[in-house]
């Protein structure tokens, strides 16, 4: 819910409740005052009749008008004096009309009479209705004006907040730009901007520190690796080793190599995580696949792998070129590495998907874990177990979907662009 809607809801409900209570009180008071007025008229009339009787010992001749009617009725029992509102049938209008009626007993020369004085309440009611509708009109007008004013004022008041929010949404930590917030003279927004800037500064600082830490850590690891590697290379130049010693040296050399590749792959994953491959261009996927296949030709020959490819002539995908290279090279080397002798690799490429299938033995790991780091098939323990998580990471980066399937000794990985 928008803040404005929420505020309006509360505001309108409160206004309506207050106006309703006010309206009811107003109505009741007005009603009371007008009835009092009528009653005063009736009392005055009563007094006039009583005075007349006292003076003349006769009933006065009733002077009936449209508004007022006086009736004398002879009665044996004297009624109690009473004022009430009642609907009375009027012949001339053929309808019931609300009237204020006063009865009181009088005694004229020993005879008891009941006097009814009725005054029409119609005029009062009309007045009340008029007042009520004017009030209602005012309430509606007030609500409308409140709504408009609130909308305008709220928008204006929240403007600094909205600008700050828009700038935050635009902000990209990889762009190396400082977050510039507009100045405002509202204390709350000054506070907000201050807090946001402070937080942003610390985020940028931490991010830069983390980035340089990753780089530095890799630097610190690569240099000793380089030293060990080069020393080993010098060591193997002297051929005075026995076969067994050479075997040990070779194992050390291989493991150092694996360690450097592991380090490079982890660094690559970190870099993708840190969005360090933001530049995009239309990458020629066909060209990348063709070049890689040419490069790996000897590997195909060595394993006697049959290659079938079905590619559209041009497929351009908007992504980072390095990422495209890494992605496809990982998929192809994977298909070669986990293949069997005399196996097959099929590559299908069109504008919507890339499908690479290869023959191979069934995996021991559950396929759902396929793209996790270091989840690897036990048969090929010499692989790093990072290839497919790099593939997944790159696909996530560009919102490509990636799926693995295994059926009838065929592994297939499909990437939908």
């Amino acid at each position: 819910m928008k803040l404005f809607a929420k505020y309006n809801r509360v505001n309108i409900v409160a206004t309506v409740v207050v106006l309703l209570i006010g309206g009811i009180c107003y109505y009741l008071i007005l009603h009371f005052v007008l009835l009092k007025q009528l009653d005063n008229d009736l009392n005055a009339e009563e007094q006039e009749i009583k005075n007349y009787i006292l003076l003349n010992h006769l009933l006065p001749v009733p002077t009936n008008t449209k508004e007022q009617e006086i009736i004398f009725k002879e009665s044996t029992s004297a009624l109690k004096r009473k004022i009430e509102s009642k609907k009375i049938y009027k012949k001339e209008d053929d309808e019931y009309e609300l009237c204020r009626i006063l009865f009181f007993p009088v005694n004229v020369s020993g005879k008891n009479y009941n006097v009814y004085i009725s005054q029409s309440q119609e005029a009062t009611e009309d007045l009340m209705q008029l007042i009520a509708s004017i009030t209602l009109g005012l309430v509606l007008l007030l609500l409308f004006i409140l709504f408009i004013v609130n909308r305008f004022i709220l928008n204006k008041l929240w403007h600094p907040f909205n600008t700050t929010l828009a700038k935050l949404k635009e902000f990209d930590i990889n762009q190396n730009q400082k977050l510039q917030l507009n100045t405002t003279n509202i204390d709350e927004f000054i506070d907000l901007n201050y807090a946001v800037s402070k937080m942003n500064d610390s985020v940028v600082r931490d991010y830069t520190a983390l980035k340089s830490f990753t780089e530095n850590a890799s630097h610190e690891i690569q240099t000793p690796l380089a030293i060990v590697n080069t020393k080993l290379e010098l060591l193997i130049q002297s051929e005075n080793f026995t076969a067994a010693q050479m075997q040990n040296i070779q194992t050390i050399h291989n493991e150092i190599n694996r360690l450097s590749k592991l380090n490079k792959s982890l660094l690559l994953l970190t870099k993708i995580d840190n969005h360090q491959f933001e530049e995009k261009e239309e990458v020629d996927i066909v060209k990348i696949i063709t070049t890689l296949l040419n490069n790996y030709e000897e590997l195909f020959t060595a394993k006697r792998i049959n290659l079938f490819k079905e590619m559209e002539t041009t497929v351009f995908i908007l992504m980072n070129e390095t990422m495209a290279q890494v992605l496809i090279s990982n998929l192809i080397t994977n298909a070669i590495k986990h293949n069997i002798d005399n196996g097959t690799i099929n590559i299908f490429l069109n504008k919507t998907f890339l499908l690479i299938t290869n023959t191979g033995t069934a995996l021991q790991n559950y396929p759902a874990n396929m793209f996790e780091r270091f989840k690897k098939d036990k048969v090929h323990s010499d692989s790093l177990g990072l290839g497919l998580s790099i593939v997944k990471k790159i696909c996530d980066l560009y919102n490509f979907s990636v799926n693995y399937e295994y059926a009838n000794n065929i592994h297939s990985i499909k990437i939908v662009f």
């Binding site: 780089e215 240099t223 060990v228 590697n229 010098l234 130049q237 050399h253 491959f277 060595a302 080397t333």
Partner: protein, 223 residues
């Protein structure tokens, strides 16, 4: 051929010096920024190996300095950073090549050789080893003046062997040089590849130059 190694890790510069000396290079070492600046100002080198992180200054600053002084020395950046930004910056500033740590000495030697060949405008692009002549520009190889039919990869392998002649080259170094560093796992396919090259050389000259050193690697030698 004079090489300047600008590298603060003594163990590493020692290894490089030892390896390159066997390849008839004269090596000098500069351990920090100021020494490097001094040496490059005073002398000319055929190739400078430049580490980017140095005590006393950044390697890129040194590179800028070299280019500002119109030095024509070839520059090979050796950096542990392997960050794309640094690589692009270094190459834009006029470095000839970029090699990230850790590297194989044989690979380093091959890169230095390529830079020096490129720098020698008047010099020949022919590498010789006994009866074998390699033309690095036309990418052709001859044995006893007779053209040797090689695939692209076989040519690269032969070139790599001749540049690193009489040195044991590990299988890992060969695999990375020929197929890039995504190669992991079994390197058995190299054996087939070596076998093919050896067969072609044997047919042409009847001498087996490629010596297998246990399971470790290979050595190209006439001894």
């Amino acid at each position: 051929m004079k090489i300047l190694i600008i590298e603060d890790e003594k163990a590493l510069s020692d290894s490089i010096t030892t390896y390159l000396k066997g390849q008839d290079y004269i090596c000098e070492v500069a351990k920090d920024f100021n020494t490097a600046l001094e040496k490059t100002a005073l002398f000319d080198y055929d190739c400078i190996l430049l580490d980017l992180t140095l005590p006393g200054g950044n390697g890129l600053t040194l590179l800028k300095e070299l280019k500002a002084n119109n030095k024509t020395d070839g520059v090979l950046i050796i950096s542990a950073k392997n960050s794309l930004d640094d690589k692009v910056t270094a190459l834009t500033l006029g470095a000839d090549d970029y090699l990230s740590k850790p590297f194989h000495l044989s690979e380093l030697n091959a890169r230095i050789g390529a830079i020096i060949r490129r720098k020698q405008f008047a010099g020949s692009n022919i590498l010789k080893f006994n009866s074998i002549n390699i033309d690095t520009t036309c990418k052709t190889a001859e044995v006893n003046k007779k053209n040797l039919e090689l695939t692209k990869k076989e040519f690269e392998l032969l070139l790599y062997f001749i540049i690193n002649k009489k040195k044991v080259i590990s299988k890992n170094a060969i695999a990375e040089h020929l197929w890039g560093d995504d190669m992991e796992g079994s390197l058995d396919f190299i054996y087939t590849h070596i076998k093919n090259l050896r067969k072609k050389l044997m047919e042409a000259d009847n001498i087996d130059y490629i010596k297998s050193i246990y399971g470790m690697g290979y050595k190209f030698t006439d001894q």
